[in-house]
Structure formats: C-alpha cells, structure tokens
C-alpha cells in the first residue's frame, strides 16, 4: 500500500510540476510579446545621455567603394576604417585588401568583423547577407549631380558619427568646386569626354557631365542620352560629325592624345586640328569626392586655352 500511495503522490506531484511548468512557459512567452510592442527604454537609463556630445562611432568600418574611402578619410574617419576594397588605393594610408566591391563575398567582408560596411551597389545580395548577421550597411552610390553628392557625404558623416567634419568638408568642397567652375570661360564650346576607345561618354545625367553642364559648354554626348542613363556609347561618325572643340580623355586607358589625333577620319575635327585634346587624371574624373575640384580645374584650364585660341 504505502508504495502505491507514494506512487500516486509522485504522479500528482509530477502532474502539478508539469502544469506549473507549462503555465510558467506560457507566462514567459507571453510577457515579452506584450512588452516588446511599446518597447519604451527605461527612462533611468536614457537620462545621463552622453551621446549628444560624443556620438557613438563605428570603430570597424569596411569600405567597398573607392569613392566612399576617399570621403571617409577626408572627414577624419580614416582611423575607424579597418579594410577597403582592392581599388581604394587613395589616400595611400587606406588599408587596401583584396576585397572586391564588384563581386563581394559576404564571408570575406565579415572576416574583418565590421560594425559598418559601406558599399556602392548591392552586388551578390551582400546587403541581405550582412543583414542576416546584423551588420549595418550604408549604400553610397555615385551621385547624379552636385547636391546629391554633398548629401551623400553628409549621410556618410552621420553613419560613422562624424557629422561636424562632414559638414565642414562639404562646405570646403562646395567652395572649391564653385571657384574652379568660375575659372571656366563662359563660352558654349563643344566638348567630348571620352571614357574609353569604345566611345563611351558621359552625359549631363551623371555628376561628371554635371561639371560640363555647370560650365555652360555643349556636351556632345547629351544628344545620345535621351533617357538620362548617364553613360551613353556614341557612334564614331557622330563624334566626328559633331566636331568637338575640346576632347577630354583619362590617363587610365593606355592611349594618349596623339593616339586620338591619329585615328583615321579624325583629322578634320576642330579639337584635333588645333591640338586641343587634354588628358586628365582618371580617378578625380570618375570619383565623386574631395579630389573632384582637380578635375574641374584641369577642364576649366583646357577650355580657357580653347577659348583664347579661338578669339
């Protein structure tokens, strides 16, 4: 008998335990759902708030955009950057790695344990991959015109906790760009900006074309880009027929002004006849950032030469 009673007691006890446990489970599961929705942080914790004076800064930034790398170093966030992509070779102190911004690999990026990743476009579902492990991402695409370019610098400043520096850089950049633009002659010269020998060019829909638009010159690529894509490929006979007075090429393509002048059929083009083919540094002429004024100054100087030789 006693063993039987003991067993009954044990069974009842077990049953209670189970019920209690399951009740406890219910309570545990229910409570956070209820409290999560309003989610007010306890006021006592927010009260000291040192954040206003000393913003929380990302300490391990990975930049997969050469453009963003230049901006990050310009706004003084260089020491927060732990890794940059293979083409972020400016400024020289940038920690270049073999990471690719074109064909990024989420695991390779994560191996640098970033707390912020800056990218130029979302290739290979990188954003989804970084989201999955809770690493924030800032998308910093090439701007279409100056104002969105300034805004992107400020966005980067906010993202890395350097807003004041970003604002100062924007102010300085704006002044430099305006000064460089002012050096251009106010003459509607015909200009052809060549990206490569397949005759890709820039229309006013991109920020490089915006430089030409701001100088009041006639960009011959505009006619080829009615949809505002920004980088049309021109037909060779159109270029020659449009008779540009200035041809701008970049130094990364492996050919020189002499090679352009020697192209069959180009001999009668004004820019070729008058020797007005100018080669500019490729990087300031393709990356939005603090070095853009160098490109603008080079173009303004070339335009000045053309305008003087014309008059």
């Amino acid at each position: 008998m006693p063993p039987f009673r003991f067993r009954l007691f044990a069974a009842i006890l077990l049953a209670f335990t189970l019920v209690a446990a399951s009740c406890g489970n219910d309570d545990d599961a229910g409570e956070p759902v209820g409290t999560q929705e309003p989610a007010p942080p306890p006021p006592t914790e927010a009260a000291p708030l040192p954040i206003e004076t000393e913003p929380v800064r990302s300490q391990r930034i990975v930049s997969l955009s050469p453009m963003a790398t230049e901006i990050l170093f310009a706004i003084g966030a260089g020491e927060q950057v732990v890794a940059v992509d293979e083409f972020s070779y400016y400024p020289p102190e940038a920690p270049v790695t073999d990471l690719s911004g074109w064909d990024p690999n989420v695991e390779a990026v994560l191996s640098y344990e970033p707390d912020l990743v800056v990218i130029v476009n979302d290739a290979n579902d990188l954003v989804a991959g970084l989201d999955a492990v809770g690493v924030p991402v800032t998308l910093s695409p090439a701007p279409a015109e100056f104002e969105s370019g300034y805004a992107s610098i400020i966005d980067l400043g906010i993202a890395v906790g350097r807003l004041d520096e970003a604002l100062a850089v924007v102010e300085k950049l704006r002044a430099e760009i305006e000064a460089a633009l002012a050096d251009a002659p106010d003459v509607p010269l015909r200009v052809y900006h060549e990206l490569d020998d397949q005759y890709y060019s820039v229309s006013s829909a991109g920020f490089i074309g915006a430089v030409y638009a701001a100088m009041g010159v006639v960009n011959i690529a505009d006619e080829a880009d009615p949809d505002g894509y920004g980088y049309p490929q021109l037909t060779e006979e159109y270029i020659v027929g449009a008779d540009p007075e200035l041809i701008v090429i970049t130094d990364l393509m492996g050919y020189t002004a002499a090679d352009v002048a020697a192209r069959p059929g180009w001999g009668e083009v004004s820019a070729v006849r008058n020797g007005n083919i100018v080669m500019v540094d490729a990087d300031p002429a393709s990356r939005w950032g603090p070095r853009l004024p160098q490109f603008i100054a080079a173009v303004a100087e070339a335009l000045q030469t053309v305008a003087e030789s014309d008059s």
């Binding site: 490569d196 159109y238 027929g241 192209r263 069959p264």
Partner: protein
Amino acid sequence: MADASLPATPVADDDVARRAVQRAYGVPVGAVLVGVALLAAVGLLSATSGAAGLPVGGVFAALFDWVPLLGAESSLSATQESILFEIRLPRLVLGMLVGGSLGMAGAAYQGVFRNPLADPYLLGVSAGAGFGAVLALGFGLDLGWGPFDTVPAAAFLGALVAVAASMAIARGGGTSPATLLLGGVAMAALFAAAQTYAIQQLDETRSREVLSWLFGQLNTSGWKQVWLLAPYTVVCGAALFVHRRHLDVLRVGDDEARSLGLDPARSRLLVIAAASLLTAAAVSVSGMIAFVGLVVPHIVRLLVSHSYRVIVPLSAVVGAAFLAFTDIGARTLLAPAELPVGVITAFVGAPFFALVLWRGRWSTA
C-alpha cells in the same frame, strides 16, 4: 555499252530524277544573282545611312569620284569626306568581311560535323579568343607585333590555342567528329571559365571595355582591321570553296566517302583548319558576333539548296549582306548612340529564321 547498260525507264521518271538531282546539286544561278544583288543593295543603303547624316546625293557623288574614270565632283566637306571614307566605308566593308567569314565557316562546320547546331564557335574559338583578349585588354599583356595590335593578336592566338587543344584531345580530328565536338565543348568550357575569372579580377573601367569587346562590335580604326582580316578571308575562303564538294561526300559517312576515293580524316582536318583560322581572324577584329554563323547556312539550305557546293559560297554572300544590314541598325537605331551589333543580329535573325523554319521543310545537314 554504258548507255545500253542503263535500265530502260519511262521518260517522265528520268526527267523527274534529273530535275531532282539538278535541284540538289546544280548551281542555282538565279539565287547567286539574287544574293549578289542583295549584297550590293545593302552596301548602298549602308553607305548612305549613319549618325552623321551625310547628304545622300553627296555620298553618291563622292563614291563616283572615288572610282577612277568616273569624273564626278564630290560636294562633301573635308569632314564629311573623312567620315565617309575613313569611318563609314571601312566599317561597312569590315561588316561584310566578318559576316561572310562567319557564314562560310558556319557552313563548313555544319558540314564537317554533320550537325545542324554546329557554329563557328564550336571548338572553343570564341572562348579562347575572349580569354586572349581579356588578358591583353585587362592585364596589358603585350603581344603587339608589327602591324598587329595587341588585342587582335592575343584573341587570334587564344582562339588557335583553344582549337588546337580541342583537336589534340580528339587526336587530330581524324577519328570521329563526335569526339572532336565533345573535345571542343570541354575546351570552350575551360576557356570560358578562365575568361570569367580574368574579368572578375578587373576594375570597372577595364571590365566594361572587355565586355563591350565580347558583345561583338564593328568599330574600326580606319581600314586597318579590314587589311588584317582580308587575307584570311581570301585564303581560307578559297580553301573552303575548293573543298566544298568534300562536304557533300562526307555527308554519306566515312566508309562511303572512302569508297568514293576521299580520305575523310584528311578532308575533315583541312576544312576544320581553314574554318577555324577564318573564324579566329574574324573574332579577333570584331569580337563575338553571335548567330550569323549558325543561321545563315540554314537559311541558304532551306531557301536554295542542300548541296554544300552551293551552301558554302552562298553563305559567304548572305552572311556578308546580313551583317552589313544589321550594322546599319547598330549605327542608326539609337543614333547618335551606338547599339551592339550582336544584339541586332539575333533580334533580326531569330524571327526571320523562325519564319523560314516554319514555312520550309526541315532537314539536317
């Protein structure tokens, strides 16, 4: 005696048989004339259209002025003349050479492999050429020598290496077309992978340059590419023209060809070598222009004749006209912007080919 040994057949049947043989193996003069007239018409249309909008009358006058003994006075300005003679005409002629080369090479490949899906890129020519071009464009591998620019030279060498590797796998191509075909598939895959890997290592500007080369384009610098390609088109084209009857014999199978006095392995090797060299030269100046080499021989086969005696030369004429015609679209549809010609060849060619297939009776090589 020979006449007497022929079985006496009713006259009507004899006529039908002769006409059938003639239809299959005679040279259709009418079709050749139509083809040449088509080529000439496309040439004139192409010479008078373009983004620079040259006056049609002026173009004709300048062309007549160009031909000796026809004393017409050109009314074009110096710029317009240089556009016509240094940009538009070289591109037109290059398009015809490339189209003709690819059409002829495609016909030869389809004959050798007895396979309707064979095209000039079958043995890895395109992938090999692409890999070579990527190395030259992207990594500054300098293979330029004398009149040969780096990129065409590298593409040409890459193409030949890929074909040679395919043929080495099949031990000379004499064994069986199927082995060679599979060897080509393997080499094409290998070189395509190498090319993809190489492109991935490039920065944005250079990879875009490589990709626009791979799309296929007829941008020329004057007549240079024309002079580079023309010798191959003439020599290899002549070799294929001379051996076009062998393709008809190879169709019946190796044993039967041997009993007809043909060495099938030797013929196959010769035709493949000539067609591959021709394709490699075309690809090295124009990149990968798809569809022409596959479809033009089929169109000729379905519309004109099933004999390679006709298909080979007529594919050259039709291929030339087809590519020159589609390039008009590439130069003018989005003018003054450019459209890759490879896009238009498929866009125009595919529906036309579908129509021909639908109306005609299908027959494999």
